[in-house]
């Protein structure tokens, strides 16, 4: 008589879902692509924090990065839009249903070229959503042209140098109104997790610029967005710990060394300072730090800025708490008397 095999209990998160429920379809991106690491971090973070995938909406534009929303959160609705105009689609969808957690994934072509206008206006509106830039300095899907985030002097695979200075998407986001701005590296699992989890907890626009190397077109010696370049030039601002709202803050923090930021949902971001002078609530200090790092040839990563008090666009619009998309007819069609009143005014 054999002993029946009892399957080990399935590991579930606080809302009873398995990690499997946070996965998407199989990636079609290149093996080793940084974007796949970002997708994995998204899966982990949403699973670990127990975010309901039914309340998430995924958005993207056009490019390799924009394909990736198909590869995570398969139980969430997704919208692969047109090039550079993901912010508009996401804005419209969130206006329609403000209870959705918007996750936008774009590339540097999407954000820094065709879509820079929409990006800047999303920033200006502080539209509450997560905006991830998978930044590899190159157009992958059209086979290796420079993007507008390519550093001056970096080269294409064939050796052609880039003559123009890059847009720093974090600096743009800082200057014009995003309330959570971070830069990370697809190869830094721990940091990217903490950044993503903070973005999930944040009420406002989170801009996360992830250096995400393109193994096919931009991982060579002339590149400044390669794995090896990042290993040599990344300058980590601080160590990050994310403590979700449903966990106890049991450990006392020694004063002065760790900065504790309480997020909108009651979670905490703990920032253990490496560089003593850096204050992530000082927008212009962050801009100065980016400038200084660029001058030194370093890529600054970490949380550049967090502001938990600025109103979002939805608050400025005085938008109904219930999704306007599904308000009943009684709330959206004024009465017969209203029409009669208006007609009388026009007589």
């Amino acid at each position: 008589m054999s002993t029946p095999v009892i399957p080990p209990p399935k590991k579930v998160n606080r809302i009873g879902l398995e990690v499997l429920h946070y996965k998407g379809s199989k990636t079609t991106l290149c093996a080793g692509c940084g974007h796949n690491s970002v997708s994995e971090r998204i899966i982990e973070c949403f699973y670990e924090l127990g975010v309901s995938p039914f309340d998430v909406a995924k958005f993207s534009g056009i490019g390799c990065s924009s394909k990736s929303p198909a590869y995570f959160l398969g139980l969430s609705h997704g919208f692969n839009g047109v090039h550079g105009r993901m912010p508009a689609i996401a804005t419209g969808a969130i206006l329609a249903n403000r209870t959705l957690m918007g996750v936008g994934v774009t590339g540097d072509g999407d954000t820094a070229s065709i879509g820079i206008g929409q990006f800047m206006h999303l920033v200006r509106r502080n539209m509450p959503m997560i905006y991830i830039i998978e930044n590899n300095g190159v157009y992958g899907l059209t086979k290796g042209q420079f993007s507008a985030t390519a550093d001056i002097g970096s080269t294409l695979k064939g050796g052609t140098p880039n003559d123009l200075p890059p847009f720093d998407c974090c600096a743009l986001a800082l200057k014009w109104g995003a309330t959570f701005v971070a830069r990370s590296f697809s190869g830094d699992k721990r940091q990217l997790q903490a950044v993503l989890k903070t973005a999930i907890a944040h009420n406002g626009l989170s801009v996360i610029d992830v250096i995400s190397p393109c193994v096919t077109f931009n991982d060579h010696d002339g590149s400044t967005k390669s794995y090896s370049y990042m290993k040599e030039h990344e300058s980590v601002l601080h160590e990050l710990d994310f403590v979700p709202f449903y966990e106890d803050l049991s450990v006392e923090i020694p004063e002065g060394e760790v900065m504790d930021v309480t997020m909108h949902d009651g979670s905490h971001l703990r920032i253990r300072k490496v560089d003593k002078d850096f204050d992530p609530t000082d927008r212009f200090g962050a801009l100065a730090a980016l400038e200084a790092a660029e001058a030194k040839g370093e890529v600054l990563t970490g949380v550049l800025y967090v502001n938990t008090s600025k109103p979002t666009f939805l608050e400025l619009l005085n938008l109904s708490d219930d999704p306007v998309a599904t308000l009943p007819e009684s709330k959206v069609r004024p009465s017969r008397e209203v029409l009669e009143q208006v007609m009388e005014e026009l007589r």
Partner: protein, 614 residues
């Protein structure tokens, strides 16, 4: 003595030998930004309040202040409210254009003018009434800086005396125009109107034949512009997300909507807005937001004009393929860039029908009046959600920005129809769904909204490369199947779009087909053809594209059918050429007007007469 001149110094004794009652056009020529709009609106409203059918057309430049502008008021006892080419009564206030304006008049017209312009020297076959506006305005408007604005109200008083417009109606119209909050401004303007009236009464002897007489043809009617009517329709359709970018002549559509929504769509319990209206950064964004909102289940809309439509082209193609409802108000106007953005046209018909790349077809609704702006806006929102596709509501500058006499709008009796949307409960019962599968045979799949709490709810939206489960595919058969279903869906729309209004004239060999504001000119032209040339003409007014079978039936019934287009390239006719059989196309003739002014009946009549060889 051949002159018809009248001067206050030397009044002529001639009295008009006949009267023209309630059937003439007044043109007021002023400088843009001089406050003439108030005076013109009051004048038009006063005639309206006397029960006389009236219409107003503002021909204004793309400019804030300083360039010439003309406002034409037509009073018509027959109820013709289209533009009339001939001007009977000119108010010449603009030194820049006064001479040309006078020279263009037909013999026998009357001219009220600013005395220093010395216009009466120009012609001897007109009735001239010189008015010293500056002398009259000073005593009634002590504040010198306001005089420029108040000055125009003087001609209201002058014209009222000359045309027998009752001053009580002028006063009533003024009060309405300024509202209770601006009583002081109303008083000031009333003083100016009175001064004009008194001056005319004291000074002039009327020699022209034009005057009004009270009728009872406007009781219960309203005065409204088409843009405001579209806005009201949208509000009563239950629009929830409005995204736009300012462009003439559509801006006032959303501006009206903002004003109405603030009054009537704030939830009384929560004090919060039951809608979002967002001025986007450009048209690329405004349509993107509208589609994002439509995808997430909102009743969404945008309003724009031709150049904005061009920018929206790519997104609208995606809306077609991804099958997302949205309503796009296109207030058509002339040309791109700095051109004639303040002149009317119907120049987007062909473009919108097939807008974007790949194979695309889009439904268009063509309202011709404020009432239809209201009812078709409501229909368009239902239609967009029923067929899950962008829908154009095609108006034009003439309809959108001019004031029209209209019947009061009917309250929508049918409940709002949200189309095929599956809830979590539906999914539980069905076990799942395929987003783009034609379950009901109408080509329209079922959709779910993001935020639906069910494991089977989610799907991934993208362009043309999807199978019926919304999965990515580049397979030939999947692509063809999807394209054919979309084509079938468009055929089904044919049975659901608003049907044309058809008037078959007894014994008519010829007919007209027109859409939108061409209606007024065509109806009047039918009467002109009958009265002046004994030509009977039938008339089919299109209310929508795709064309319904009525159109071909109508063409078959007639020897020749004149398709009226307010564009150079006969776009409406061109659209028919794309789908009708050769023997049908062979019967079509074209009447085109593209000068930027609202179409008038005489232009239509002359062209038909020419082509008929009469």
């Amino acid at each position: 003595m051949s002159t018809l001149e009248v001067s206050p110094v030397e009044p002529l004794s001639g009295r008009p030998d006949h009267s023209v009652i309630n059937d003439f056009s007044i043109q007021v020529a002023t400088v843009n930004g001089s406050g003439s709009q108030t005076a013109n609106t009051v004048l038009m409203r006063s005639i309206f309040q006397m029960g006389i059918p009236v219409s107003g057309k503002n021909m204004f430049p793309s400019n804030i202040a300083g360039l010439p502008t003309w406002f034409t008021i037509r009073a018509s006892k027959h109820g013709y409210i289209g533009r009339r080419k001939e001007i009977d009564f000119l108010v010449a206030m603009n030194p820049e254009t006064a001479r040309e304006d006078v020279m263009k008049l037909d013999s026998g017209a009357a001219v009220v003018y600013d005395e220093p312009l010395k216009l009466k020297e120009l012609r001897s076959d007109l009735h001239f009434y010189p008015v010293p506006f500056d002398k009259l305005v000073a005593p009634v408007c002590p504040e010198a800086k306001l005089r420029k604005l108040v000055r125009n109200m003087i001609y209201d008083g002058i014209v009222a005396w000359l045309l027998s417009i009752e001053m009580e109606e002028v006063h009533k119209a003024l009060v309405k125009q300024f509202g209770k909050r601006k009583a002081k401004a109303a008083d000031l303007n009333w003083g100016a109107a009175r001064a004009g009236f008194d001056y005319a009464a004291k000074t002039f002897t009327k020699t022209d034949p034009y005057r009004v007489e009270r009728m009872n043809e406007t009781a219960g009617k309203v005065i409204i512009d088409g843009n405001a009517a579209c806005a009201l329709g949208s509000m009563f359709a239950g629009v929830t997300v409005v995204t736009w970018y300012p462009i003439t002549p559509s801006s006032s559509l959303v501006e009206s909507l903002i004003a109405y929504m603030k009054r009537f769509r704030i939830d009384p319990e929560s004090g919060k807005a039951t809608y979002a209206i967002v001025q986007a950064e450009d048209e690329l964004a405004s349509i993107g937001m509208a589609l994002g909102a439509g995808w997430a289940g909102a009743r969404s809309m945008t309003a724009t004009a031709g150049p904005g439509i061009s920018l929206m082209s790519e997104f609208i193609g995606l809306g077609y393929y991804a099958e997302i409802p949205a309503v796009i108000f296109d207030v058509e106007r002339v040309g791109p860039s700095t051109g004639l953005p303040t002149r009317t046209a119907q120049g987007d018909i062909l473009k919108n029908a097939v807008l974007s790349h790949g194979d695309t077809r889009h439904p268009m609704f063509f309202p011709c009046s404020p009432e239809e702006c209201f009812t078709m806006a409501i229909d368009a929102f239902d239609f967009a959600e029923q067929f899950q596709t962008p829908v154009f509501v095609m108006t034009d500058l003439d309809l959108g920005m001019n004031n029209w006499m209209a019947d009061p709008f009917p309250y929508p009796e049918k409940p709002i129809r949200r189309g095929k949307v599956l809830t979590a409960e539906d999914l539980e019962n069905l076990g799942g769904f395929a987003r783009y599968r034609d379950v009901d045979g109408d080509g329209v799949g079922y959709r779910t909204l993001p935020g639906t709490h069910h494991p089977a709810a989610a799907y991934f939206t993208r362009g043309s490369g999807h199978n019926d489960k919304a999965q990515y595919t580049e397979r030939e058969d999947d692509y063809i199947n999807n394209m054919e279903r979309l084509s079938h869906k468009f055929e089904v729309m044919r049975k659901h779009v608003p049907e044309p209004a058809v008037n078959i004239a007894s014994g008519a060999r010829i007919g007209f087909i027109a859409a939108g504001t061409s209606d007024y000119a065509v109806r009047e032209s039918c009467d002109q053809l009958r009265a002046e040339y004994e030509i009977e003409a039938s008339y089919l007014r299109l209310k929508a594209y795709p064309f319904t079978p009525h159109v071909v039936d109508f063409i078959r019934r007639h020897d020749r059918v004149y398709v009226v287009d307010q564009n150079r390239d006969a776009q409406l006719l061109g659209l028919m050429r794309l789908e009708f059989d050769p023997e049908i196309i062979a019967k079509l003739r074209s009447v085109r007007y593209f000068g930027g002014l609202p179409l008038d009946a005489r232009t239509v009549t002359d062209e038909v007469v020419k082509q008929e060889g009469k």
